[in-house]
Amino acid sequence: MTQSPAELWVLIALLTLVTLLARNLFLLLPPAWQPRGRVADALRVAPLAALLAITVPEIALNLRAAPISPSMLADPRLVAAVVLALVLRATKRPLLALVLGSAAFFALGAWAA
């Protein structure tokens, strides 16, 4: 790290400004600029799309570069996510799903290692 304390605090101020602007941009725009109708309806999937955009590449981390093979089906990350999704859809209990998904992750990780 090469920044001085003063530089770091300027950076913190700038980053705060970025957070504030990004999260409030449309809250500050006039009504005429707001999304309407079908676009406003479609925007309701934005949190879903963002959560998958963040998680899916990490879930498939070991599979992205490798050529397709049957051994991929035993990948701890992938199996954990599949277990979690199935348990969650079946039981609607997020904590149980997370525990079982994590258990699958560690079990397969230990088994593979």
């Binding site: 770091l8 980053l15 079908r38 934005a46 949190p47 879903l48 955009a53 954990a80 994590s102």
Partner: protein
């Protein structure tokens, strides 16, 4: 500030506007307080994941050499794991302040989409409360809010959202501080980060509903995989746009 006449359509309020109960301060109003608590409860299942990310971020800040004060400043003032994780690798002197700010801005683009989602709900809220609510609304509270948004008058929905925001902020800051304090002793492998990621994934799973939901999920996951190596998390933003576009294409009404 809540008693501003601009705040929500009064006729839909369950309490007569002249009732003494109506004059309770924000957090003392019984219905709003119930909604605040309901919001906090709605994100309970997200808290383990947020705690894991907070820990990871706290440790990461110490590992790149941030002192205590700037690390706490990042946690409490910036309040954006996305910005923090975008900037930390650039602190080695390879980039100037403006380059780091630009990288954080690009990484934060998904929040611009979130603000477009929120704006129709917060339009009548007084400016200060609107900006405050916008500032600390992140993924998990917004997801809970979208599942719940139809219920109740505006000020109660805002209370619900801020209840979710409050407990998420508390969890994030506490776990980040723990990460900063314990960075030297925590055995921080990629495993913990992955459990946090699984918890985020658990937030997404119940949201996949209806044609627009499935279309958005397929498009977002596909684009995220294809664009995973794009710089500055641009792939995430592209995947969000693809998901919204797919929902637009798949149905006239959004996912419920």
């Amino acid at each position: 500030m809540i008693r501003s006449p601009a705040f929500g359509p009064r006729r839909r309020d369950p309490m007569p506007s002249l009732s003494p109960r109506y004059r309770h301060p924000y957090h003392r109003h019984p219905v709003r307080r119930a909604e605040f608590v309901a919001g906090a409860r709605a994100v309970l299942s997200a808290l383990p994941g947020i705690a894991a990310w907070g820990l990871v971020t706290g440790v990461a800040m110490v590992k790149v050499g941030l002192e205590l004060a700037p690390a706490l400043g990042m946690t409490f003032i910036v309040y954006s794991g996305t910005s923090q994780l975008a900037v930390l690798p650039m602190l080695d002197g390879s980039a100037g302040l403006l380059a780091m700010t630009a990288a954080a801005a690009v990484a934060n683009l998904r929040f611009v989409v979130y603000s477009a989602v929120l704006s129709r709900h917060l339009r009548r809220v007084p400016l200060g409360l609107r900006l405050g609510t916008g500032f600390w609304t992140i993924d998990a509270p917004l997801a809970a809010f979208m599942q719940r948004q139809q219920a109740g008058p505006l000020r109660q929905r805002v209370a619900f959202l801020n209840g979710a925001n409050a407990i998420v902020a508390l969890t994030w800051c506490t776990s980040s501080v723990l990460g900063i304090a314990l960075a030297a002793v925590l055995p921080m492998g990629p495993e913990l980060a992955y459990i946090g990621l699984l918890a985020l994934f658990a937030l997404a799973v119940p949201l996949v509903q209806g044609r627009p939901g499935w279309a958005a999920a397929a498009a977002s996951a596909g684009v995220a995989l294809l664009a995973a190596d794009w710089p500055h998390r641009l792939g995430t933003f592209a995947a969000v746009l693809a998901g919204v576009a797919a929902a637009l294409w798949a149905g006239r009404r959004g996912v419920r």
